[in-house]
Every structure is written in structure tokens, then in C-alpha cells.
């Protein structure tokens, strides 16, 4: 069954917002205007967009080092995200977190995290809070195939399983943990064998197909809201850039493989689909694209206008009041 037009356009707009945001960040990293580590989400947009479309602000997500897309899809303020990435005072974390530690608790985005796998235990707590409150809210945790080899991943599956937590595990299987292929690093072979072993309902979807992600995530999140325990969704996808953005590191992945995945661009293929179906007329698509570009331009203007924090602001926020 075809999704309603509003949902289709919404999925596309979210993906495109992530793409344009990440293109800006990549350009600025390569030009030396953004410092530190930034992990690009380009290529994986369909996952965040398809999953988060089902969530309300009362649902929580926990993200990872490659978190910009999750933040945008969950509704985090793009201006303040951009300011954060530039280390500016008006950043969502006042410039204390940077690209790797963006959080927006106001929209239920409980933070991105620089330690592979470490968001998983935290997400079990967010899911337990939702369960204790009993209002049918859920938690979602995003992680990569690399995290599946961490102990915290296994501990968290187990904990979610025995406590029947309303937690959706979203594994963005982009095939590599930094440069190490999952095919080498994971004894289980198919990732879903692992949640299967923990008796957790699971599915694998084509992670570059936003509607496939949307439908599988929707079914899983419905289960969570019914109190039927955790679910696991493996989304097969690919990141276009190196593990983190840098002109100085070599991409060790096969060139043909990278090119083949770029052919399957989740954003461009979906735009084509929406035009073909007539969901969006060409003029409407162009105006949507212009709107998204303006949003990113405005975010950059906001970040550029924001001052740096005062050096001594480093002393604030070690503790909460």
C-alpha cells in the first residue's frame, strides 16, 4: 500500500535536510573551518528518517558518534546543531560537546556518544523510564555493525529482553567498523542471529529504501507501544565518506563498492520515485529543495553570527545546580 503523500514528502524532506546539512559540514571540515572529529551520515539518511517519523517528542532516542542525522530526524534545532559543530556559544551544548556530543533533551534526543556501543546501556534506562511511566512511550537506540561486537551491546540486548523494555534497537549495518569489514569482525555472520539468540523480535531491511525502513520500524514501534518487549531492526546501508571526515585519511574500502552504493543513493532514488509516482510535481520538488537549502544556509548564518564561548565558560556545567 502506498504511503500518504504527506508522509512521502516528509520522509524526503528529512533525508534531504540531513544530506544538505552533512554536505555543508563535510565541505567545512575539508576547508578547515570545522575542527575536530565529525562523522558523516551521508548515505544512511533513510534509516534516521524512516525510524524517527514514527516518534513523538515524548519518545526518546540515543544516538552514536555518527549522530547528526538522528538529531535532525528527531527534530533537534538545526541552527543550534550547526552552532555546536562550530563550537559556538549558541550551540545546543553551548559549544562543550561538538559534533560527537550533540544532544537536545527538549525533543527527546538524549545525546550522541563517542564510545562505540556505549549508548546502548543508556537506552535501556530510557526505555525502562518509559515502561515505568506506563504511557506507551518508547526508546530507540541507533548503532552500527561495529557496536555489535562490544560487550555493552550484548548486555543491553539481554537486559532489554529480560525486562521486556519498549526499546527498538536500530542497527545501521554499513558494513564496516572504521575500516574493518563486518564480514571479518563478526562471528555470528548475520547480525540478526544475535537478537534471535536473545529471543528478541527482529527483521532486516534494505536501509537505503526509506519506505522499507519506515514500514519495518512502524511495525516494530507498534509492538513496543503494545508492551510486547524489545525489537531489533537491521538496516543494510553504507556511508559514503571515511569513518570520520578528513582529507588526510585513506578510504580502504573497494572503490567499486563505494561507487555501487552511491548509485543507490537513498535521497536521489526517492526523489525519482516521488516524481515518477506524481507525489511531487517537478516544481514542487524544486521548491522543497530550495526550502531545505535555505534552512541549512540559515543554520550556517546562525552559527556564523554566534560568538565563541568565553574561555572561562569552560568552568561552568561540570555539575548541575
Amino acid at each position: 500500500m502506498e504511503l500518504d503523500k504527506k508522509t512521502q514528502a516528509g520522509l524526503y524532506e528529512t533525508m534531504l535536510t540531513i544530506r544538505r546539512f552533512e554536505e555543508h559540514v563535510a565541505r567545512e571540515v575539508f576547508d578547515g573551518h570545522i575542527v575536530g572529529f565529525a562523522h558523516s551520515y551521508i548515505g544512511q539518511e533513510a534509516v534516521a528518517a524512516g525510524v524517527c517519523r514514527h516518534l513523538t517528542v515524548k519518545d526518546k532516542i540515543v544516538s552514536n558518534h555518527r549522530g547528526h542525522g538522528h538529531c535532525i530526524a528527531k527534530g533537534a534545532d538545526v541552527n543550534r546543531m550547526m552552532a555546536e559543530i562550530y563550537g559556538k556559544k549558541d550551540g545546543c551544548c553551548k559549544g562543550k560537546g561538538g559534533s560527537m556530543h550533540i544532544a537536545d533533551f527538549g525533543v527527546g534526543m538524549l545525546g550522541a556518544d563517542g564510545i562505540v556501543g556505549a549508548g546502548l546501556p543508556i537506552s535501556t534506562g530510557a526505555a525502562l523510564a518509559a515502561k515505568l511511566e506506563g504511557k506507551k512511550n518508547v526508546a530507540v537506540v541507533f548503532f552500527g555493525d561495529g557496536a555489535c561486537n562490544e560487550g555493552e551491546f550484548h548486555e543491553s540486548l539481554n537486559l532489554a529482553g529480560i525486562w521486556k523494555l519498549p526499546l527498538l534497537f536500530v542497527c545501521e549495518n554499513n558494513g564496516y567498523g572504521v575500516n574493518t569489514p563486518a564480514s571479518y569482525a563478526m562471528a555470528a555472520g548475520d547480525i540478526t542471529r544475535i537478537p534471535e539468540a536473545y529471543h528478541i523480535a527482529n527483521a532486516t531491511v534494505e536501509g537505503n529504501d526509506v519506505e522499507a525502513v519506515y514500514e519495518a520500524a512502524g511495525a516494530a514501534i507498534e509492538r513496543l507501544r503494545r508492551g510486547e518487549g524489545p525489537c531489533f531492526l537491521e538496516c543494510k546501508t553504507y556511508r559514503w565518506h571515511t569513518h570520520f571526515l578528513s582529507k588526510d585519511i585513506e578510504d580502504l574500502r573497494p572503490k567499486g563498492e563505494i561507487a555501487a552504493w552511491k548509485e543507490r543513493c537513498p535521497v536521489a532514488t526517492y526523489a525519482d520515485k516521488l516524481l515518477r509516482r506524481g507525489t511531487l510535481a517537478p516544481a514542487r520538488l524544486q521548491s522543497l529543495q530550495a526550502k531545505v537549502q535555505k534552512k541549512i544556509d540559515d543554520a550556517f548564518a546562525f552559527a556564523a553570527a554566534s560568538p565563541y564561548p568565553k574561555p572561562e565558560d569552560a568552568l561552568a556545567d561540570v555539575y548541575s545546580a
Binding site: C93, K94, G97, H101, G111, I122, S123, G125, E152
Partner: protein
Amino acid sequence: MREITYDQAAGEAIRETFRSNPRTVYVGTDPVLDMQKEFGEDRVRVTPIAENSFVGAAIGLAGSGYRTVVNLRMATFGFVAMDQMINHAAKITYMFGGQARFPVLIRMTVGAGFFGAAEHSISPYAMFMNAPGLKLLLPSTPYDVKGLLKTALAENNPVISFEPFLLGKAKGEVPEEDYSVPFGHAAVRRKGSDLTVVALGRMVPEALAAADDLAKGGVSAEVIDPRTLVPLDTAAILRSVRKTGRLVVVDEACQTCGAAAEILARVASDKATFGKLKSAPARVCGLDVPIPFSPPMEKFAVPDKSKILKAAKGVLR
């Protein structure tokens, strides 16, 4: 006044808070039957033995509006959860720009003296002093453990309570009525004028026993118990040392880069206090070895009254 044990006093602090605040959750690997009976198994949860994940779960609960108590049992198991405690609990408030509060209380026992051998006998609080963002308790009496935990359970930050294993069955006066002990306020356990002894945790009763012996020889020792390591009541220590001019710091943790080293550094780098020193300060700490099992070796590795007396005499000479 009634007397109860250190462990009972700690339990009272938690139960009283759970009664007054329904948004509290307890996690630990052992069922706490009386608490489960009173507060239900939803709030008093038994976890698998998977420290890193249940500390992480506590952080996620805290970030979602629940106050969480984690019982890690012993500091040795705490090391399994170092990722969540150091990379997350300590930093999460700061790196997210203070936009959320993380009220997590993590309890673990520390210390040697019970033939627990190397892994289970450890006092790692100095490692945590090096991770800004945590508040660190080292209560030495039943009164203090209850009062400090009450403060911790009203605190909006991650707190770790290091509770000397050997003090668990120690009895002391604890009032029936509600009270709390603020963080960052050292207790002067005994007033004196010739020598300041700063003692940590289980070394407080040892230092008091040493002070009794010193008094018999006409030496008046002041014994200070910081009670919390972060925040540390530096002012109380400096005040005492300026008065006595002599200092011994006693800690059963290993000496190198320990809390005692930090206390000596704060004294030495305060000009007004340094100028009042009549002799070089001394440390009485655990030796820099893993704690050995065999009783004569363990006794050799850990400070006690006789070692404190020896150090005091050296400082007084």
C-alpha cells in the same frame, strides 16, 4: 541515642528517600528483599551481573527523570563499569552543556583488611577524583553514611559513595529524626594543637586510636575526617595545619597519586600554610602493591595505628 550499623544506616537513607520520592529506582545484582517488598519489583530491580550495562541503564533513567541508586557491591566490580562511570556519568552533564540532570547514586565498598586478596581489596577513589563531574563520598561512621547518602539522594549530579567494607558492621549513634550531612564539610573528630592527622575512611578510627596513644605521651593530635573527597574541604585542613604546623595524612589506598598526595599538594602550595609548617608532612598509605592474600603480608601492606604513630613521631621530631 540509638546505635545502628553503618550498613543499616545506609539502608535507612535509601528507604526514607524511596518513601518520599516515587520517581526513584534501585538496581543491583542482589535482590534486596525488604525493599522489594516495600517498593515493588518495578522500582527495586535485580540485574544480571553486567555492571557496565546496569550503570548505563541508571544514567539513562536519570536522564529520563528518575533518580537512580546503583549498588555495585565492591569497587573491584566497579572497574567493569568504568566506561559508563568515566566516559558517561562524569561527563554527560558537561558535554551536553548542562541541559539535563543526572541524579545517579553509585555505591561500592572499598578497602582491605578482610583477606579479600588483590582484586577485591582496593580503594580506587583517587582515580575518580581525576574524573571531574562526579561527587565522591567516603563516609567513616554510621551517622555520616546516612547523612551523606541523604544529601546524595537530593543531589542532581552523579555521586559515588565509597564505603569501607570493614566498617559495614560498625555501630554508631544515628538519630531517629531526619538529618543530612552536607558535602564538602570535614569533621574534626578530635581537637588538638600539636599535630594534624587527616584520615580517610577506615583510617579514621585507626587515627583516633593513635591520637589516644599520643595523648598519653603528652602530644595533642587533631584528627580531621574530610568525609567527602569531591568536594574536598581544603579550608578545614589548611586551618588545622596552620594551627599545629605538623601534618600526617592517612589513607589505606596505594600511595602513588592518591588522595593523600593531593592533600599534601594543597597544603604545600598554600603559601600561608606552607610557611607555618614546622616539619615535612608525612603520608601513611597502602604500599604500592596489589593487596596480598596471606594475613601477615596483608597487614604489612596496609596502614594501621602503629604505622600512624611511627609517622607522627617522625613529624614531631
